[in-house]
Assembly symmetry: C2
Homo-oligomer: 391 residues x 2
């Protein structure tokens, strides 16, 4: 059997707001082989990612990604590994590749699961999936009062953990940031697990981050996420020596497994957060999860979009019992919520379980694609080299 076709669907909300909500658009990938199809999602700029599929070759290590995927044999999971590696080698110098590969790799695992009548976590070698404790992932309010209300709402919905991020945090004074963190703790109640996400706002400024630690410690925050950009290993490491019970979390920007290894090996992280739609798909995320397990760092998914992306992000660490927490989007747009016709919601114990179905276990909703699709066409010298797929 061979990989016969790969198609891309760029979906977008009618209005894209200038806020940290990554669920406002989506790039879906459909892979077909034989009678089956698999689906994946890139957490990436859709247009730019599509352009990497069939651009012209620049040289032997800067080829369009299609070169390494179309027509490749596809019979067992080692074929995914081989295709993945081929893409990395032949498109080494095409930077956007890793985001594109992520969606393709996810779709290939979904397809392989359907062909083998096995869930992806089983193909990865896990005996069983363990339920994960979801944290409600949302943006800070514009004011502490709004943050308080958001936290109270989350608590009323019986979430035991919540994360607040982006928005004003880190952009105002230390006092303003403190007020937001206190408001979040108050709204969540004294027992809730509270997580704070700085969204790389301090770049690599250890001092700026350090000034926020007192409030985080006072409010018993479990982790401070992304005080710095992913590559600022030294800054993370310095801050980790001062953060005490507040552990550092990061890694969503990693687009290769090795970058995540580096954050675990050198940056003093307590939690490594991986977006399967950016790191290189399930293949790379699984490597990171294994490394985390060995290094005593807790693996957590990064997911702010669809149930398809959520399933793909949970499979790589589904079988790691002690890595208990998972990010769970509660503010996703209609588009993101409706990409699949089935959902993944907390069970009666408030836990998240993977679907007991082959592959990723999610069913794509063709109506959603029709409603939100953005049609892309790219010409070079008046020759069309890329055109959006029709359903």
């Amino acid at each position: 059997m061979k990989i016969e076709s790969v198609d891309f669907f760029y979906l977008a909300m009618p209005e894209i707001k200038d806020i940290g909500d990554g669920s406002q658009d989506a790039l879906l990938v459909r892979v077909r082989a034989g009678d089956d199809e698999g689906w994946g999602e890139c957490e990436a700029s859709p247009l730019v990612t599509m352009a990497a599929w069939n651009c012209s070759m620049s040289h032997s290590a800067c080829k369009p990604v299609s070169t390494s995927v179309l027509g490749q044999p596809f019979n067992d999971p080692t074929d995914i590994t081989r295709v993945h590696q081929l893409v990395r080698e032949q498109s080494l110098d095409l930077l956007q590749t890793d985001h594109l590969l992520s969606g393709i790799d996810i779709a290939l695992w979904d397809l392989m699961g359907k062909k083998s009548d096995a869930a992806v976590y089983q193909l990865l070698g896990y005996d069983r999936p363990y339920p994960k404790l979801p944290y409600a992932s949302q943006l800070f309010g514009d004011t502490p009062q709004q943050t308080l209300e958001k936290a109270m709402t989350v608590r009323a919905k019986h979430y035991r953990a919540a994360k607040f991020g982006w928005g004003p945090y880190g952009r105002g004074t230390v006092e303003q940031d403190r007020d937001h963190v206190y408001a979040a703790r108050e709204g969540l109640g004294k027992d809730g697990i509270l997580l704070i996400d700085a969204g790389t706002v301090w770049q690599d400024d250890v001092n700026a981050a350090e000034q926020r630690l007192e409030a985080l410690k006072d409010c018993r925050v479990t982790w401070l996420e992304e005080p710095f950009i992913s590559a600022a290993l030294g800054a993370y490491q310095q801050l980790s020596l001062k953060s005490g019970a507040v552990k550092l979390a990061g890694g969503e920007g990693c687009h290769q497994a090795h970058q995540a290894f580096n954050m675990m090996d050198y940056a003093g992280l307590g939690y490594i957060q991986i977006d399967t739609g950016r790191v290189g798909g399930i293949s790379s995320a699984f490597q990171v999860a294994q490394h985390a397990s060995n290094q005593n760092v807790t693996y957590v998914n990064h997911t702010f979009t669809s149930y398809l992306a959520l399933s793909a992000s949970l499979q790589p660490y589904a079988g790691l019992e002690s890595h208990k927490i998972c990010e769970y989007p509660v503010e996703a747009t209609a588009l993101a919520r409706e990409i699949t016709s089935n959902t993944i919601v907390p069970d009666q114990n408030g836990m998240i379980n993977l679907p007991e179905r082959p592959g990723l276990g999610m069913s794509i909703n063709p109506e959603t694609i029709k409603r939100y699709q953005q049609k892309v066409s790219i010409q070079v010298n008046n020759h069309t080299i890329f055109q959006s797929s029709e359903r």
Copy 2:
């Protein structure tokens, strides 16, 4: 004064060969403010990079790069720093950004130099540029005999240093690789500085690289370049403990200064190689050069393309006297050689000197653009969001 326009020119040879020659196409960037213009070059897949200029916003940290550049005040070098930082923040999650920013940043420095009647190295704070010793950078031959002949040719042209890379190296047996290295040493003569470039062929396989060390040591190779991908810090570090007099070199894949800092701080490198057209332009390359100077690692440019790229890649370390060696492309295509109407060639002492002219000191050849330009057009929902500039 404001940044009024940014235009892109995608040039390509009529035939692109499946070899490791990055000079077969080019993406030029022209920036205009007032009566002046500056030029830069991205070392990147041209089409994908262009797509990142004016794609739709995905969210607040995934915006098209144009948002952060067009209309920005442009009066002194701090404006370049500000624009650079704004791009990094607002396009954080658009992976291709760093390659696009590189060309824009270079063009902005060129423009600022022209406006201030100063060379870029002067704007960076260097009193004077020091001549650099060029190494002739080329691909291995397909056979040891071809490698021998290439090395003899380079020697006949009076180069005192040469690098051989890519091609068959690392893809065959240890013995075949050894024969190529011996052939290169024989052709170059016993006194020439010999450098070997493995082009990331072993990914992160320390054992595979280690098997090649004996031949490299026997042939007194100065550095082994890119045995592994840039992010494989641990693999580099392990190999560095065994490589003895053969130092490790790497870094051309870095697309942020921090990634290069990490390679210097954790990977045991002797040489850090930076492509100004990938790392984020002159601003980022200069940061890396300062870090290298502080960390006792030798900075070297990575340049395999045009004289414009060569000037841009030398400016960031022009004033570091003890960082003596520079990469010098000797096999570039006609396209790359003819992008500028002036050239940078070895002086009577065989050394490379920067032009004593404002900015980057290079003059773009409009005929070359006309001859090799590839016209790109991108539509979303039948609305044109990007169109190649006419001259």
